[in-house]
Subunit: 290 residues, 2 copies
């Protein structure tokens, strides 16, 4: 391993498979690994990942969810025992789930996980691979440069007043943590106007935009902040909080001013690109120590 490698993880693991969902993060991680001379096997999830985004040179195969048996056989054939999972999951369709014969035996495990909603499902998937003898790594461990650094990503920084509001937001999320909820919240008009639970960050931002549009909420210039951190106990290997260009666009449309995140614990993908997007939209994106 060369000295420029982002973590020691590669030194203590063997060849890697990336189980890739949708969005920009999986190709970005592949690019970072390539820059360090590593070429992972990419299991692109059908209906979510775009194989073309990984380039022609990628060692890639597309799998339906029902082809888990084939995937396991291929990983064993290649001697791959290290997994990273990244990207938006497809909403499973009946056809994507249609199991191959070699997948049937694993169905009882997943049937139970599916009944519990998204969180249970992710935990079930990790447990499944671990029981099969694999090591599951988090994207932040493989490529820490994909997470929010300390300080501002773009040119703008939170003012002392804005920082006070962000700190209130972080304190709110910490108070929610014992209840296993509260990955994100929005503060505006000196109060908490939205708290994320099962709906997701984008839906929460759209809710605030809607309240503003209907005159239920006023957000002045320089006001309106998103805070986002992992929940205590959240498995950052498969369920890391993330922000991206869409988050920033939704924020700008809602008339919000900036984002405060926990440094090192929230995925941002391409830091420089997200900083440019923030500058373009007039937002600050800033990482704070935990």
């Amino acid at each position: 391993m060369n000295a420029g490698h982002p973590t020691d993880a590669a030194a203590t693991r063997g060849p890697l498979v990336m189980i890739a969902g949708g969005g920009d993060f999986p190709p970005q991680l592949a690019g970072i690994l390539a820059a360090h001379g590593e070429r992972p096997y990419i299991a692109a999830l059908d209906g979510a990942a775009d194989p073309a985004a990984f380039g022609d040179a990628a060692d890639l195969r597309t799998y339906r969810l029902g082809q888990l048996g084939s995937l396991l056989e291929e990983l064993r054939r290649r001697g791959i025992a290290d997994i990273v999972m990244l990207g938006a999951l497809p909403r499973p369709s009946f056809s994507s789930l249609r199991p191959e014969v070699s997948t049937l035996k694993y169905m009882p495990h997943f049937a139970k996980a599916f009944l519990g909603g998204d969180d249970h499902l992710l935990r079930g998937v990790v447990r499944f691979f671990e029981l099969q003898g694999f090591r599951v790594h988090g994207p932040a461990e493989i490529a820490p440069e994909m997470t929010a650094p300390r300080g501002a990503l773009g040119r703008r920084q939170a003012s002392p007043e804005q920082r006070t509001e962000l700190e209130r937001g972080f304190a709110l999320l910490a108070a929610l943590s014992p209840f296993d909820v509260g990955q994100a919240a929005i503060l505006a008009d000196h109060r908490v106007v939205a708290i994320e639970a099962a709906e997701g960050t984008d839906a929460m931002i759209r809710r605030v935009a809607d309240l503003v549009a209907r005159g239920r909420l006023k957000i002045g210039k320089g006001d309106g902040f998103l805070v986002k951190v992992p929940k205590t106990g959240q498995d950052l290997r498969v369920d890391m909080p993330a922000i991206g260009p869409d988050t920033l666009r939704n924020m700008a449309e809602a008339g919000l001013s900036g984002i405060g995140v926990r440094a090192g614990a929230v995925l941002v993908g391409d830091r420089a690109a997200l900083g440019r997007k923030a500058d373009q939209l007039g937002l600050f994106v800033e990482g704070f120590p935990g």
Copy 2:
């Protein structure tokens, strides 16, 4: 005052004006007062209150928001210094706000309150009347029988398991109170799936219904609970949490099982009627001590 009067409040106050917004609560309060031989002056807010709902015998006049000056003159003419405000507020339209000459002088006070959104507005209205020498009473003080009692409103009661979930919900709302947010939350699937902030309880219930409809959340039979309590520091005189038949209908549509509220601190209107509605929809509605 007769011995059957629900509170001592009437003994320590003079004749009452009810500033009445929309919904069933204002006519219910008028009915309760009538049963005790009290006939308040009713200032029905144009566009919100239905004058017919108060019956032909009511001492009622309809006021636009811009007719505040006329209302104050009438109250002074009648020697009324005690106010109760109840019911849904109209979204102020430009025409409803068009001030009479006698209202113009009060506009600067309200212009500031309006800029701050609903909460600020209510606080501004209370402050305004108090500065004008009025006493503002809460509906729960005037008619405690309109609040949730301890115990079940209908036939159904929370099971011990359901009660454990409700207690978790109450603890969550208590943890949020220092942040002046968290009047209600929904728990399902052994986790917190929605927390109310600026959007209101009905919007929160609909959000959960939507997550269920899109397969993002599973709610089993006997699962799914709404908890609702006042926030610490909430002015119960003008901003009391409330549940009503619409809340129950929305809950049933979302597949939820029951509601836990803080006894004495949440308006339910006609207890018996709401208990029958709960029975009909298969829900429990239960009040717990604070």
